[in-house]
């Protein structure tokens, strides 16, 4: 690998890790769409700040972006608090408004500046190695790596220090308030972190991929664990692995890197959705199938037990009657009878199904529940 490739991979991994951390809390707070809104509206902050400082590399840009990110959250709350518009609609109203103002400003006032809306939407991580941090002529690596590294550190430190507050305010904001931990402060703190992360990240990977990296990995991790610290860790791992995988996919297909990374995030999520050990679709379907067979077998046993020793027993325990009575298709009914026989719960004697002692016991247990 060339050093430029290593730089791109490093930036991608750091971006993925910094997005996954606040993303985990967005997913748990059911605010996933807020990341979409913020990752777009921060552009307005960048543009406005750029008019003030006229320097695309100024840290003031990040501050401006964070402020507009918070403004987005506040506006969405103001609009939805009128009670006339739902929150998701409010997001759909506020974010295009702020974003389009930014687009107009860029196209009409900053036409000669290197700030175009394509780069904002898609990003271009492949250019990250060429924009280097070299104070006093000493090359210290890509600027993007420094910016995102700093953001990652802030996110890690913030989550570590305020883990308890984030957890409490996310699970039960009313208790947080009653215990004296302002849930509003936690909320806006988290939103500020989301905004800053989105700005740092979208320079490298574009706003669409910011959303993919903030929401996809935590959504997958949520299906894999039921402990918050593990969910955070898994989100980071899934995000970083998808970023690396996406980079190689892009090389293979000679395609846009950011787009390939987002694709791999999507594939990773689908794989987890299908294959997660407890909650995956495959595991769930298997469990249901097993329950269906168990239930059918129990119905059979209980039916036999009910009519055991009654005058109708002869009729009620013929295999074909059984299938009519339970409305089972013949193949299914035969399977039920067969598996119950294999388990030693029933025996077939003179065209009569009879319970074995174990079968009688099993019927009693099933009926009690």
């Amino acid at each position: 690998m060339t050093s430029a490739q290593i730089d791109v991979l490093l930036v991608a991994v750091v971006v993925a890790a910094s997005c996954a951390i606040p993303g985990t809390f967005l997913v748990l707070r059911r605010m996933a769409m807020m990341s979409d809104a913020i990752s777009h509206t921060v552009l307005l902050g960048i543009v406005l700040a750029f008019f003030v400082v006229a320097d695309l590399n100024s840290p003031i840009l990040i501050l401006g972006a964070a402020l507009v990110g918070l403004l987005t959250v506040v506006l969405v709350e103001v609009v939805s608090r009128t009670g006339l518009v739902r929150e998701d609609t409010a997001i759909g109203l506020v974010f295009p408004a702020l974003f389009s103002i930014a687009v107009i400003l860029i196209s009409s006032l900053a036409g000669n500046v290197h700030l175009d809306s394509d780069a904002v939407l898609l990003g271009e991580i492949a250019f990250a190695p060429f924009n280097r941090f070299a104070p006093f002529g000493v090359d210290l690596g890509p600027i993007a790596l420094w910016v995102m590294g700093a953001i990652l550190l802030v996110n890690l430190a913030g989550t570590f220090l305020f883990f308890k507050e984030l957890k409490l305010a996310t699970f039960d904001p009313a208790l947080a308030a009653a215990l004296g931990f302002s849930p509003a402060l936690v909320h806006y703190g988290l939103m500020a972190v989301v905004s800053v992360t989105a700005v740092g990240a979208f320079d490298a990977v574009g706003s669409i991929l910011v959303v993919a990296l903030m929401i996809g990995p935590p959504a997958a991790a949520y299906l894999l664990t039921d402990r918050l610290p593990r969910m955070l860790g898994l989100s980071v791992v899934i995000g970083a692995a998808s970023a690396v995988g996406g980079y190689w996919l892009a090389r293979l297909l000679d395609a846009n890197i950011a787009g390939s990374m987002a694709t791999v995030v999507g594939i990773a999520f689908i794989l987890v959705l299908l294959l997660a050990p407890q909650r995956g679709l495959v595991a769930t379907a298997r469990r249901h199938r097993r329950q269906r067979w168990t239930f059918a077998r129990q119905m059979l046993l209980i039916h036999l037990a009910t009519h055991e020793g009654t005058p109708t027993e002869v009729d009620e325990s013929r295999p074909d009657h059984m299938q009519r009575h339970m409305r089972w298709p013949p193949a299914f009914g035969n399977r039920v009878v067969q598996t119950a026989t294999e388990r030693g719960l029933i025996v077939l004697e003179n065209d009569q199904l009879r319970l074995t002692p174990q079968g009688r016991q099993a019927a009693r247990e099933a009926a009690v529940r």
Binding site: K164, D172, A174, L175, L179, G180, D226
Partner: protein, 259 residues
Amino acid sequence: MRLRTSNVLAVQATDLTLAYQQRPVLWDVDLDVPQGVLMAIVGPNGAGKTTLLRTVLGLLRPAAGEVRVFGRPYAEQRRLVAYVPQRGSVDWDFPTTALDIVTMGTYSGLGWVRRPGASERSRATAALAQVGMQAYADRQISQLSGGQQQRVFLARALVQDAQVYLMDEPFQGVDATTERAIVNLLRALRADGKTVVAVHHDLQTVAEYFDQVTLLNVRRIAAGPVGKVFTDENLRLTYGGRVAGIGGPTNGTEHEAHL
């Protein structure tokens, strides 16, 4: 901290008025809770019962009125008050354990940044044991039954070691085992001199479980010892004539009050 000063009410809310979009939800409501009693707040849906609790807790800002806890403003006495919200008010799919939820009750003593340690966890474990849930400490909270979730919430309030416990429908949708556990717990709290205010829906059990009752329907209809104020007349005033014969044998219309 023992707060046994005589004559000071555990909770005293005066003239609370609160409106949503101009519609009054609480209208000039007083709440007087003496120390060491179990008080039920009873009233029909939309009577403002939950709103009253949330206002006492400072979660909602009233248009008028004030709340005092042991004679001082709630903001100064926050630590003395524990809250048990309705079970449905949180997301039980949250990725954590029963013990972790109970440990949240210790956070106010920790302040910002400091993390719960061994002593907080052992207090939480003890509180879980007090509600008969020690075997479920490491269980993911979505795997608990409704009654078990309610007991986790109660344990979380116990661990706050408060003087006043505000509970929003603690008996809502729980199994018989949990109902008994809660009743025993309420009595244990009373024996310790603690005060409990609970929103309660089941009119049948008010007299059995509680000492005092506040009948609420936007306004306070009546309040005082159950034996004195929990009368058919007051219930009719509260429920608008839909309830009959609490004292006597049950009849059909009574169930409307549970809806």
